[in-house]
């Protein structure tokens, strides 16, 4: 049990042990316990079974006995009943009479009646008998029966009759065919007083009662059952488990029954009529010749024992399980220490030295555990000590390694005494490109330039290092790939305690980048200097503490001061123009106080007295919350300033020109208003006063048309004076301008000079005002000079500049354009007014003419009619013909006049334009021409027609004329076909009226639209020839056009073009 040692791993051994202990215990217990329980259980079971058997048998027997007794009792009662009945004096008496009476006689019947009455009480359900019979002794005839069907039958062969003659008799049970069921009869002899045998009284026993007796159950059992069979095994009562009453006709041949009818009684365990094993009690009743079977299912009988058996089994099983469990638990408890120990050992094996076996018991196991713990503790201590030592060693190594390895920017390596490389670091690799493997062992002159090596530089360095202790130099070295780099090298000689040279250490730094940076800085410095010079930007610096002011060369240049001069802040500020000094002073102060930077453009006066503009910028350097240094730049921006000023002035000029143009545009076409406006605006823009002259119609004089002076009094005065003197075109400065066609600038002029130029005649004009500066500009229109505009400065010291002259010319050009436009416009207006007037006159005339002409015409017609009517008979044929011609002629005149009237009305009766649906208008026209269409068989096809802005009545007239014409000028051989359609083309629409009539020769296209122009005689076609002229007039009024095309003899197409929309102008114009 304690074999811990061995080759096997501790684990499995202990496991096995563990199992063994628990297992063994459990096994033993199980075996022992099971055997015990099984044995006991079996005994108990069999015992109970036997007991049950006995009990069941006893019960059966007692039930059988009880039933038997009941049966016997019942039989006995039946017998007594029948005997009593048979012996009853009444019955005897009646029987005597019945026998002696003649059959069928009233006597007989009465007696019969009485007998039956006597019998009644003992028959029926719950009575012993079902029916009674009285059988005559001699013949065996049934003389009286409670069942009338029996009367008259003969029973002489039946046993109960034969036996019943002699004595009280109960038959066997038998199956009665007539009744259809088992039956039993009791009989008794009926003996007269004298001892004569009268007959036999037989009664059929109610076997239901018997059934009841047999089937009576206690209710305590489930499967109890009882039945009777007769001597041949015929079932007499209904067994419990057979419901079919037909079974009563059959015999039962079970073992129990067989034994029974053999005359035996007993109890067996056998299969019953169902095939179920039952405990069966069978009793033979010899007196009755019946077999009584009482049984109970075996299963039920032994039921309790079976359940008992099951219970026992369950309990045993449970007990067994509990026992096993208990065993396991106990075993585990006792093997735990071992397991703990086992775990500890295992952990130890794995190297865990901190595991403590927790076993507290005082037995062998406990002692073992304690020893184990001690061992573990000591091992642990040893290990810890060793680890510490190791770590310390590692740390120091590590530090060293880090140092050397970590440095990537420096090459650190060791040389031996001969100068060969014995160690290498990543820095060295990085800088030189050599890997440790390839360089260790080589001489360190590998890094030196070829020339240096030739000169013996490496050896020299080593020698110096040995002597001085170390050697340091900046110089070019070469990498593995051949590229050179600037290196800073320190070589140190290493001596041991004895002073012996052990080797050298070398520290090299790649300073190529640094050197390059230094160079770049120098370059940019130079560049900055140059740039400053070129852009005229200088730099300055002020040390706030020491108040030292430093200027670059450029700043000196800007100030036009000798560069060697030393200046202070105050002097520097003084260079600024007086008005600028406060600003710069404040900026500097702000810089000092709060570090605020500045960027100002200020005027400055150089040492040479030049007034220039400078841009001064400054910023502050702060340390510890105070400004320690101010620095900045300065630039000469004079040029730029001037350029800006130019630009500004130009922009201003441009704006003024634009405004001027705007003003001109707003003046509504009135020449004079335009001129006045120009004079005023020019004065406002250039000043101080303006006067405009226009060349007179005859071209000889320059007439003043407009002038302007801010002072109204002066203005008036000027006007008066100019009104009095007429300036000739060839006088004064005018000729010069006419010749050059350009503006004349006299920036400064004196009165004398003017007087010298112009005629004395004009000198009075000069009294108006003094003129100090003068510009005269020509007004040009369509290449000709139409006038002159003069501006004058009346104040001195403000001369006009060439820019002013150019500006004025621009103004004047615009003015000239506006003026010519204005003039054109007013001319146009005047002309239009005249035209309108003449049109109106014409229309009135046409109207009145045609109107008044009609009156005499009417008279002519009327009286010629009257003449024809009244005196027509008095005239001959010729006379009447003359009258007719007169009438016709005046008729024609009538038509002509009304056409003329209509023609004139196109304008006079014109309505304003409104929305007109041309399609609807055409339909109206067609409906109004209905009669003519029908008459000619004509058809009009109307296509799409647009809706346009037009005079509705006139549209109707237009279309009526066109369609009417198409009908009028039809081809005589065919029905007129007219197509009217329209198409919209953008802002216009085209209406087409096409017919298949006679057409016209296209060379007469112009003529047909003229008033009263006809292409046919009046005999051929009626009409005055004004229709198409009216059409044209209407169309023209609508700003449209009309034309036509035609093929003679085939048809014509009239094309009307009309705008969709009419302008909002005066619509009543022709």
């Amino acid at each position: 049990m304690t074999d811990l040692a061995g080759d096997q791993p501790v684990e499995t051994q202990v496991m096995k042990l563990h199992l063994n202990i628990t297992g063994k215990l459990a096994f033993i217990l199980v075996v022992f316990g099971a055997a015990l329980l099984v044995g006991l259980g079996a005994l108990a079971y069999t015992g109970s079974r036997a007991g049950l058997q006995v009990a069941a048998t006893a019960e059966l027997l007692s039930t059988a006995f009880e039933k038997q007794s009941a049966l016997e009792r019942w039989f006995t009662e039946a017998q007594i009943d029948i005997a009593a009945q048979a012996a009853s004096p009444v019955v005897v008496e009646q029987a005597v009479i019945l026998l002696s009476a003649a059959p069928g006689s009233p006597e007989a019947l009465a007696v019969h009646e009485r007998l039956i009455d006597e019998f009644q009480p003992i028959i029926g359900p719950e009575k012993a008998f079902t029916d009674l019979l009285f059988i005559e002794a001699e013949t065996g005839e049934v003389l009286a029966a409670t069942d009338p069907g029996e009367e008259g039958k003969f029973k002489e062969n039946l046993s109960y009759f034969i036996q019943g003659k002699r004595e009280l008799y109960v038959s066997e049970m038998y199956y009665s065919v007539t009744l259809g069921r088992p039956a039993m009869t009791a009989a008794a002899p009926v003996i007269a007083e004298d001892g004569r045998l009268l007959g036999v009284l037989a009664g059929r026993l109610d076997l239901d009662v018997m059934n009841t007796i047999i089937n009576r159950r206690t209710g305590l059992r489930q499967t109890d059952d009882a039945f009777l069979t007769n001597a041949i095994g015929l079932l007499v009562t209904q067994p419990r488990f057979i419901s079919d009453p037909g079974i009563l006709q059959q015999t039962l041949k079970t073992e129990a029954v067989m034994r029974c009818i053999g005359g035996n009684s007993g109890v067996i365990s056998a299969d019953d009529y169902r095939g179920v094993t039952a405990l069966i009690s069978y009793r033979w009743l010899p007196e009755r010749q019946v077999c009584l079977i009482v049984k109970i299912d075996q299963a039920e009988a032994f039921a309790s024992s079976q359940s008992f058996g099951r219970t026992v089994t369950w309990i045993s099983g449970l007990a067994l399980v509990i026992a096993i469990a208990l065993t396991i638990v106990l075993a585990r408890i006792y093997t735990r220490p071992i397991r703990v120990l086992q775990t500890g050992v295992k952990r130890l094996g794995q190297g865990e030295l901190d595991y403590c076996v927790a076993v507290k018991s005082n037995d062998e196991i406990g002692h073992q555990a304690a020893a184990f713990n001690e061992m573990v503790t000591s091992l642990e201590k040893q290990r810890t000590e060793r680890k510490q030592a190791e770590e310390e060693l590692r740390d120091s190594e590590e530090h060293l390694r880090f140092l050397v390895e970590g440095v990537r920017d420096y090459a650190i390596f060791m040389l031996d005494t001969a100068g060969r490389i014995v160690s290498w670091n990543p820095g060295a690799e990085r800088i030189t490109g050599y890997r440790a493997a390839e360089i260790i062992g080589q001489h360190f002159s590998y890094f030196f330039l070829a020339d240096d090596v030739k000169r013996g530089k490496p050896e020299q360095e080593l020698a110096i290092a040995m002597q001085e202790g170390h050697y340091q130099e900046e110089g070019w070295q070469v990498r593995k790939d051949g590229s050179q780099f600037m290196a800073d090298v320190v070589t140190t000689a290493l001596f041991d305690e004895t002073g012996e040279l052990r080797g050298f250490s070398n520290l090299t730094r790649d300073i190529t980048e640094r050197k390059q940076a230094e160079q770049a800085l120098r370059h940019s410095h130079d560049l900055l200097d140059l740039t400053g010079q070129l852009s005229r930007v200088g730099g300055w610096e002020l040390d706030v503490e020491t108040q030292t002011l430093i200027w670059t060369e450029e700043v000196y240049r800007i100030h036009e001061v000798d560069p060697t001069t030393q200046l202070n802040v105050a002097e520097a500020i003084n260079f600024y123009a007086p008005e600028a000094r406060p600003a710069i002073t404040a900026a500097i102060q702000a810089g000092i106080d709060s570090g605020t930077p500045w960027d100002l453009e200020l005027p400055l006066i150089t040492a040479q007295g030049q007034r220039i503009w400078v841009r001064a910028q400054g910023a502050a350097e702060r340390q510890g919350g105070r400004t320690v240094r101010l620095y900045g730049a300065m630039q000469d921006v004079t040029e730029r300033k001037r350029a800006d000023e130019e630009l500004r002035k130009n922009a201003e000029r441009a704006a003024m020109l634009a405004e001027f143009s705007q003003n001109l545009a707003e003046v509504t076409g009135d020449s004079q208003a335009t001129l006045d406006l120009v004079a005023r605006r020019v004065t406002e823009l250039i000043g101080d006063t303006t006067i405009i002259h226009l060349v007179s119609k005859d071209g000889l004089y320059l007439d003043p048309v407009a002038n302007y002076h801010p002072d109204p009094a002066s203005l008036e005065h000027i006007r008066e004076l100019y009104a009095s003197v007429r300036h000739g075109v060839n006088e004064g400065f005018a000729p010069r301008i006419f010749q050059t066609q350009q503006a004349l600038l006299l920036p400064s002029i004196t009165m004398e000079q003017i007087r010298a130029t112009i005629e004395p005649r004009l000198w009075p004009l000069l009294d108006l005002h003094s003129v100090h500066s003068l510009i005269i500009a020509p007004l040009c229109s369509q290449g000709r000079i139409t006038g002159l505009l003069s501006v004058m400065r009346t104040q001195p010291d403000n001369p006009y500049t060439p820019e002013d002259r150019d500006f004025l010319q621009d103004l004047v050009d615009r003015a000239a354009l506006a003026l010519s436009n204005a003039r054109l416009f007013s001319d146009l207006q005047a002309y239009a007014a005249k035209l309108e007037q003449s049109n109106r006159d014409l229309q009135e005339f046409a109207y009145v003419a045609s109107h008044d002409l009609q009156e005499p015409l009417r008279k002519v017609q009327a009286f010629s009619d009257r003449l024809a009517q009244k005196y027509g008979d008095a005239l001959d044929e010729t006379g009447r013909d003359y009258l007719k011609r007169m009438h016709d002629a005046s008729q024609r005149m009538q038509t002509l006049l009304s056409d003329l009237l209509e023609f004139s009305r196109v304008a006079s009766r014109a309505q304003s334009f409104t929305t007109v649906d041309l399609h609807a208008v055409v339909l109206d026209v067609i409906s109004d021409l209905e009669t003519r269409l029908v008459k000619t068989g004509g058809q009009v096809e109307v296509g799409e027609l647009p809706t346009i802005e037009a005079d509705p009545t006139q549209m109707y007239q237009l279309l009526q004329n066109l369609v009417g014409n198409a009908l009028k000028f039809r081809h005589e051989e065919r029905a007129p076909m007219i197509y009217v359609s329209g198409k919209t083309n953008g802002a216009e629409c085209r209406i087409i009226v096409k017919d298949n009539g006679i057409g016209f020769d296209p060379q007469y296209l112009d003529r047909i639209f003229k008033p009263f122009q006809r292409l046919h005689n009046r005999q051929e076609y009626e009409g005055s020839g004004i229709g198409l002229a009216i059409c044209r007039r209407i169309v023209e009024r609508h700003s449209g056009s009309i034309t036509a095309t035609s093929t003679p003899r085939e048809g014509s197409t009239f094309i009307v073009t009309l705008p969709i929309h009419q302008s909002k102008g005066d619509s009543s114009h022709v």
Binding site: E855, R858, K859, Q861, F863, D865
Partner: protein, 151 residues
């Protein structure tokens, strides 16, 4: 109780002698049994209606039942006369038919504006004139019954 149909009295104000003649003939042709009187201008018309001047005698110059008026007459033209008639309470009730030569609507409207009972455009043919007159005649028959007769 039968009332004899008294012929209606017509008064025509027309300056044109031809027109006067034609109308007279038309009346005769139409066999309208009416009396037709003429005046030649607006002044005469008003004198007639007021039974003044040479028209003082009502026997010769009875108050008409219907006035035919040419709007265009010298001295006082038809329009003026019509205005006066309609302004005068005694004459207002007299129906006035304006005979125009022109079909212009302006004339028509103007006529309506100042209370013409109706207008007729002077027909061109004589037949038409006769028809127009016949129409008047029917108009005239009805006039007879107007209350104006009784006052």
């Amino acid at each position: 109780m039968f009332e004899t149909v008294q012929p209606a009295i017509f008064l025509m104000a027309e300056n044109d002698p031809d027109d006067r003649l034609l109308v007279k003939e038309a009346f005769q042709e139409s066999r309208v049994v009416n009396n037709l009187h003429f005046v030649e201008d607006g002044v005469e018309l008003l004198d007639y209606l007021r039974q003044q001047g040479k028209y003082a005698n009502p026997e010769n110059f009875p108050t008409p039942d219907l006035i035919l008026l040419d709007p265009n007459m010298p001295r006082k033209d038809g329009r003026e006369a019509l205005e006066e008639i309609k302004a005068d309470p005694l004459l207002r009730h007299l129906p006035v038919v304006v005979l125009t030569t022109s079909k212009t609507e302006e004339d028509i409207l103007r006529s309506y504006d100042i209370g013409a009972a109706s207008f007729i455009t002077k027909p061109v043919t004589f037949e038409a004139l006769v028809e127009a007159v016949k129409g008047l005649g029917k108009y005239g028959v009805q006039i007879v019954r107007l209350p104006s007769k009784d006052t």
